[in-house]
Structures are given as C-alpha cells and as structure tokens.
C-alpha cells in the first residue's frame, strides 16, 4: 500500500490547546477581551439609567486599577491569589471536576500557615517561609481531598460537597479567631477583635515596591503557573488527568484510574488554593482576620475560565480580574453607585466571556469542516 502518511512536522508535540493557525490564535485571544468590552458597553447603559456618566465611571475604574503604581500594585496583589486559585480550578476542570471549594481551601491554608508561623517564630525566614507555604498547601489539599474522596468512593457531587466544606471552614475559622487563635494583644487591650496574633517578621513576604502591598507571593504564583503548565502537558499524571477529563470511558478502557485522577486533581486544586491563603496572610495581612478570602475562591473560577483553562492564559486573566476588583472600588467611590451594580458588571463580564468561548468554538468548528477536503458527511453510528 502507498505511504499515504506524510509528516509535516516531526518534532515532539507540545499539545497546548491554543495551538492552531494565526486566525484561530487571534480569535482565541482577542474575542474574550471583546467580550469584556461588550459587557462594559451594556453596563454603560445601566450606568446611564442611573444618571451616571459611564465615561467618568470607566475612566475612574481604569485609573484606579492600572493608572498609578499603587493602583497597579494593588491589582497585582489581588491577582496573586486569583492566579493560584485559578490554576487549581484549571487542573480540576481538566479532569472535568469543578472545584467550588476555593474559599474553604484558602481558609484552611491560611490557618495552617499561620499556626506554623506562630509556633516557630524563631526559625530563619529561609526555612520558615517555605515551611508555612508547604503546610498551607497541605491543609488546602486536605480540604480538596475530602470532596475528592467522596466523589471517588460514593460519587458525591463535588459542587455540593465543596460548597458545604466552604461553610464548615468558615465556621471553623470563626471559632478559632474568637477562641484559641484570638490575638492575645486584643484580649489584653480588651478589644477582642476576631483576628489572630500578628505573624513573626521572619515569616513576612518581602514587599516589592515600597509603600505598596505588592509582595513576593506574585513570583510564587507566576512560578506555579509555569509548573502547572509543565505538569499538565509534560507529565504522565497530567496526561492522565486530561484524558480523564476529555473521555472518562476511553480512559477506563485503557486502564487509567478515573476516580483516582479526579480525586488527585481536586486535591492539587485544594493545595493551590491553600497556598493562595497562606500567601495572602504572609504577604498582605500578616495575620488571619475575618473576610480574608475576599471571594477569591469564586472569582478564581472565573479567571480560570477567562484564561480558557490554560495556565498561561490564566495569568493575564487574573491580572484583568484583579484590576476589575480594584477599579470597581475606585469607580464606586468616584461616581457613587451601589456596590450591587459592581457585582452585576462583573457578572456580565463572566457571561460574555464564557459566551464568547462558545462562539469561538463554533467558528473554529465551521472553519475546520471547511478545511477538510472530504469530511465524512455521516459517519455511521448505527
């Protein structure tokens, strides 16, 4: 038989989902941002109805988020936990598991890290900081492992179990902050604030720019983006996770342990969220306090989706969302609009971005059929 097979490219494949021709790449990168603009355009109408000048509002937003060193740093500060949570969501999603437990995992990670730092204040930074991060990762991972195990063993829906674990983690933190972990200084002074003691200085993450909160945790998060990319596309475990997510049946038929990989992906996702928590503590607040999670556990999901579930796409997506969070605050102050509207605008962005992902998918599919010389009109599926 003739060798009908021609290899156009012989080099080992790096199977990134963004691969494709220039047009496809442009579509995939550009359209989500157009989606953001479309959402902002619709929000502008709402703003007009509230008798607010959208141009003033949006310029305040832009100015607040990226217009100054302090604004930009603040956006990056918020982007750091979003990126870590988003990376975890990405790994879980690749195994077709949805991790809505980011909030709880952040809390567990921050508690464990704080405990570590407060228990060993005399260790040098070079040991204490990695130790805190490790402990935080493990605690978060444990909080992801529980729903993972429940799913693997009893087919418990992970969306429900992770949300419930969020509630448990939150109450656990409240208990600790009003009891065993309450700041002794606060008790002495009689303020009884629900917060932990201040972390020893040896556990603080370095500030990158003076008089801002921007801290070295950003580097850690960026490093993990690269690691997650390598993990998913270069290792056997990453390969299995992606196979399980794309086709659990074929994976099963090939001897890949589907429940185990789903559990593993949720555990790693939990670990990354836990890491986000401990970094937030060591870099920004230097103690645990109420409201520490800041909704990162949920917003991180959106950042992961906006980054088309690709580690390197989640980086800019996190920065964008960090900026939106910061800018929205500035906008609220500048034009006096209700906080609920800010949430609505963020929601619209999510809607448009996920919608555009679907749209791109259809366009590419159409182009693919057009490109195939003789596509099977109907592959018999009797």
């Amino acid at each position: 038989m003739p060798m009908a097979f021609m290899l156009q490219r012989n080099k080992a494949a790096v199977k990134a989902p963004k691969k494709g021709d220039g047009f496809e790449f442009m579509l995939r990168t550009l359209v989500p941002f157009l989606g953001v603009f479309a959402a902002l355009a619709i929000s502008a109408v709402v703003l007009l109805m509230l008798k607010t000048n959208p141009i003033v509002a949006y310029s305040a937003m832009l100015q607040g988020a990226f217009g100054s060193i302090s604004g930009l740093s603040q956006s990056l500060v918020k982007a750091t936990p979003l990126l870590l949570v988003g990376l975890g969501v990405c790994i879980a999603f690749r195994a077709s598991v949805i991790n809505v437990g980011g909030e709880g995992q952040i809390i567990l990670g921050s508690i464990a890290g704080t405990w570590m730092a407060l228990s060993f204040p005399d260790l040098p930074s070079a040991i204490l900081i990695p130790a805190c991060m490790t402990v935080g990762f493990i605690a978060g991972a444990f909080w992801g492992f529980i729903p993972g195990l429940l799913k693997a063993r009893f087919k418990v829906n992970e969306i429900l179990s992770t949300i419930m674990l969020n509630a448990i983690a939150l109450q656990f933190m409240n208990f600790l902050l009003q009891g065993p972990m309450m700041d002794p200084e606060g008790i002495k002074a009689g303020t009884f604030l629900a917060q932990s003691a201040r972390l020893p200085e040896s556990s603080w993450l370095a500030r990158l720019i003076p008089r801002t909160q921007l801290h070295a945790g950003l580097y850690v998060a960026l490093g993990f983006a690269v690691l997650v990319y390598i993990f998913l596309w270069r290792t056997t475990i990453g390969y299995q996770i992606r196979a399980v997510g794309l086709n659990p049946n074929a994976s099963r038929y090939s001897g890949i342990n589907v429940p185990f990989n789903q559990m593993l992906s949720l555990t790693i996702a939990g670990g990354l969220s836990g890491l986000a928590g401990v970094i937030e503590v060591m870099g920004v607040h230097r103690r645990i306090l109420e409201g520490l999670t800041g909704g990162y556990g949920f917003t991180g999901i959106v950042a992961a989706l906006l980054g088309s579930l690709h580690p390197l796409g989640i980086v800019p997506a996190s920065v964008l969302f960090g900026g939106l969070l910061v800018g929205a605050n500035t906008m609220q102050r500048a034009v006096q609009i209700p906080a609920a509207l800010i949430n609505a605008i963020l929601g619209l962005i999510v809607l448009f971005v996920s919608g555009s992902a679907l749209w791109i998918h259809n366009i590419i599919k159409k182009r693919k059929t057009a490109a195939v010389v003789l596509a099977p009109v109907k592959d018999a599926e009797q």
Partner: protein
C-alpha cells in the same frame, strides 16, 4: 390509493457543505413499482441525496421533478405532502406511547382538537392487512422488537400517504430473519405501486431486493445498473474504486487453549442479569466469532473479559490463570487487548491528538517516560511507526483524532492494541461503520494476528464478516451461548434462527396476534 407518484426525476443535484461537495451533479430517477438501490460507502453522499429529496436539505444546484413537474421541497412536511416519506436509520418513535398514538403524532385529525385514535387504529389495521405489516396498534412501542418498530415507521409513512418511501440502511439493525420479513413487505409495497429507494452498503441485500442499483462514490454517481445479472465485483469496484483482495482460505490448526470462560454471570447497567452463565473457550491461532443481535450481552461479555465490568460469578482463565478479579492493567500486562465496540466513546479521546491516542495505556510504560515526564521523542517515533505500518491516513501526528475518518481511527486503535503483541484479543464489532477499504485492511490484520498465534474473540452483527474470518462461530442470545460450531458445519439460516433465540427443533414462534383487528 389515489394520486400515486409515477416518476421522480432528480437531475444534476449539487449539494455543498462547507468545504465539501457532498453531491456532485448527480442524476437519479425512480419509477413507481420498483426498488432502486443507492449503494456506496459511508460518506459517499447517499443519505445526503435522499435527504434533499425528503426536504431535509436544500439543494445548491439541479432540480427535482415529480411526474414531470419541477418541485422544490423546503421541509419534510412539504415532501410528505407531495407523497414522499423516509424511514430513518434511527427510529423517530416515542417508546412510552402506543403504536396508534405514535402514528397519530403530528397528524391533524378530522375532529379538529380531539384525538381520534379510533380512526387511526382502523386505518393501521387496514394498512397492516394490506401489506402484511404485523403490528398491534395498542402495543407500547417500547415493548416492540427493533423489527416491529421498523414496521411502525413504515406504517407511519404509509398512513401519511407516502407513495415514494426512502429507506436509509433499514437492515442494519435486523436479524437475518427480520431482514427476510422486511423484504417480503417491501416487495408487497412495490406490487401495490409504491416506489422505494433502498440505501445500503450491503451488496447481497441490494442484489436480492432491488430492480436497479445506482452506485455513488465521493459524492459522484458512478453509474446505474439493472440488478439482474450484475457482477458483485463490478459493484465493489464502482464503490471502492478498485478490486478487493479475496480473503485466502486458511488451515485451521488451533493451538493451546488461551482463554477459557466458565459459567460467567454478570449484570448489565440496569442491574438485571445480562450474562447468564457464559461458557466459551478460545485457542491460540483461532478466531472465534460471536454472532448475535447487538444488545444480547456481547458488550457486557467484552467488558467482563477486559475487566471493566464486575463478574458476579464464574471464572475467566487466561493461560490457566484466573483473571476474573484482576484489574484491567494487570490483564493487559498478562496479554489481553481489546478493540472496543464503541470506538469513539471507549476507544479514543476525540480531542487528543493522534499521537496521544496511541499512548492511552502505554504512557506509563518505562520506554515512553523518564520518571513522571513523558518522553515525547520516543512517543513520536513509536506513533510514527504505527501510523506508517497500519497506513493510517492523517495529516500530522498532532491532528486531533476526531478529524480522521472512522476507518482510520479504527486502524489506529488496532495498531495501538496489537503493538503490545497480545495473546488474547477481543475485537468487538471492529468494522462497524468503517468503509470497505478499511474493513478489508482490518480483516487482513486480524487474520495475520491469528496466524501469529493470537487467540481472537470477534463479535459482529454481520454474519458475512463472521463467516469470512472465523474458524468457529458461537451464537449469543439473551446472555447465553446458543451453540458453538465449526465454520464449515453451519449455515446462515441456522445461525439466524439461533440469533433470534430459536433452537432447531423448537416450534416456530406463533404469529403475532392482531387482536384489535379481528372481526
């Protein structure tokens, strides 16, 4: 019946899909009182051409004339009004409704807003009597066999006054006996003045039933021949574009017993016992064909053998070792391999590249990894070798496998499984939905593997395929083995009866009573 269509003339039909010319200037005509076959491989354009006639697709060029008058159908409703009906491969029936209710569905009744089931039932009985379509109008469709459901579809089309009926691969789901019954009905319909289009890729059916045969290939018409006296190989050449190699006949020298299945029982997905004590053995260097209408336990048996489905009781011996409780990976390590029945669901990850699909199991093999890191260089080399060796047509190794044709995907799955040099191979419906060229190749590979000493269990619904390949043939019916025969000791008739659950000597099944039609 008044107003029967005498002639349908399709001239110069062109249909484009994005980037594909599905129908390239095809002429097709049909007279009342004949069966005209449309023969061709998957993707040749048969269904597309007929869906244009049925109004499901709009033509991009050419014209359709009914009895000399040019017509244009914008929807199936249009063509139904004109008297053209179509029986699809997948039946469009509501299983929780009765036959009469299904037929009445979507029909306007004389009583405006009320459902007039009585008239419908009477009309069904008339049609049923006139054409020998044995169906009880009051039966739930969900309780009917596939063959009976098909009759309901035919009744539906007749009820709506179709004088031209298009049948899209009607025999694909039937047992040989059901096929015979269907042919009797179809011949009766022709006698009554209907015109039938019979879409198929099975040569012997086409030559047995039809008056004229039109062959399509790659969207082009290759010619029309009268069925009488046409040579089989001529039709194949028109369909495939070349002659097929005949499978050479081989000596049957079975080796040691490799796979022994003893009294295996297992439950199906719905929890009911699907395998009711299976006993089979497969020897080295033989192909054991497992005949049966799909849904009689073949899928469950394959899953039990490979280790995806739990065996409730019984033993599965691989070279004397009981593997019934082993994990799939252990079984593969011991020499098992499977070509899954549902290729796209169980055999391949659609969005993975060709290369990645080669390593669904073997990526954990030490040869293809360094620690936890995949060794892309070695993976690419191995994938390239298999793709070349098995003539898989793919632009690159990075092409997503879903962009390949069914035949090429199957070749790749086969390459992947055979590369491990298995001692026992389970090949479940390996050529279903695969074009003739690839089927031929897959058959040759299976025989090569047999000659190399592999024990092969081949399940298929296609008796011709089983006959061509198997050394012994077993028949499965409702989870039990009805019998095992040497190939030369049996014939299609016997196998067909066993596939329907009738053992030789059993009293023939009584005809279905049509209670509501009596009197």
């Amino acid at each position: 019946m008044a107003g029967m269509i005498q002639q349908v003339q399709m001239t110069g039909i062109v249909k484009r899909f994005p980037g594909v010319l599905a129908c390239n200037n095809i002429d097709f005509d049909l007279h009342a009182g004949e069966v005209h076959a449309l023969l061709g491989e998957n993707g040749a354009g048969k269904s597309t051409l007929m869906k244009i006639l049925y109004g499901m697709y709009q033509l991009d060029g050419g014209s359709i004339a009914i009895d000399g008058a040019v017509r244009r159908f914008h929807s199936p409703a249009d063509s139904l009004d004109a008297g053209i009906g179509m029986i699809h491969q997948h039946f469009m029936l509501v299983p929780t409704m009765t036959v009469a209710q299904n037929v009445a569905l979507g029909q306007s009744s004389d009583k405006k807003f009320l459902l007039d089931l009585k008239t419908v039932t009477e009309r069904i009985c008339e049609l049923s009597a006139a054409y020998g379509l044995k169906v009880n109008p009051n039966d739930l469709v969900g309780h009917l066999s596939v063959g009976e459901q098909q009759r309901v579809e035919i009744i539906k089309a007749l009820y709506r006054g179709a004088s031209i009926i298009i049948l899209d691969e009607p025999t694909a789901v039937l047992t040989p006996q059901e096929v015979d019954d269907l042919f009797i009905i179809l011949k009766k319909m022709v006698k009554e003045g209907h015109g039938l289009v019979f879409i198929s890729h099975k040569l012997h059916e086409v030559t047995a039933l039809c008056d004229r045969i039109t062959v399509l290939r790659d969207g082009c018409k290759m010619g029309t021949r009268p069925a009488a006296g046409v040579e089989r190989h001529e039709l194949i050449k028109m369909m495939v574009g070349r002659d097929l190699k005949e499978l050479s006949h081989r000596d049957y020298k079975p080796g040691a017993e490799r796979l022994t299945i003893t009294d295996v029982r297992a439950s199906g997905d719905r929890g009911t016992e699907t395998l009711k004590g299976i006993n089979l053995s497969v020897h080295a260097g033989e192909i054991l064909g497992l005949a049966g209408v799909s849904g009689n336990g073949q899928l469950e048996l394959a899953e039990c053998l490979i280790g995806i489905r739990k065996v409730d009781s019984g033993r599965i011996l691989l070279d004397g070792l009981d593997i019934a409780s082993m994990k799939l990976n252990e079984r593969i390590a011991k020499g098992m391999a499977i070509i899954p029945e549902e290729r796209m669901r169980d055999g391949a990850v659609n969005d993975f590249s060709v290369q990645d699909n080669v390593f669904l199991h073997d990526h954990t093999d030490k040869e293809f990894r360094t620690g936890i890191f995949l060794n892309f260089k070695k993976m690419a080399a191995h994938a390239k070798k298999l793709v070349g060796e098995y003539t898989v047509k793919t632009p690159t190794l990075e092409t997503p496998i879903k962009n390949l044709s069914g035949g090429n995907i199957q070749k790749l799955i086969m390459a992947r499984e055979l590369a491990r040099k298995p001692t026992v191979l389970i090949a479940a419906q390996p050529t279903r939905g695969v074009d003739i060229g690839a089927s031929e190749y897959i058959h040759q590979r299976l025989l090569m593997q047999r000659d190399a000493g592999t024990a092969i269990l081949l399940t298929s619904e296609d008796l011709d395929e089983l006959y061509a390949l198997s050394d012994r043939i077993a028949v499965i019916y409702e989870g039990t083995i009805m019998g095992v025969f040497l190939r030369q000791d049996t014939d299609i008739q016997t196998l067909g009866l066993l596939m329907a659950g009738i053992r030789p000597g059993d009293a023939p099944k009584p005809d279905l009573p049509i209670a509501s039609c009596e009197g």
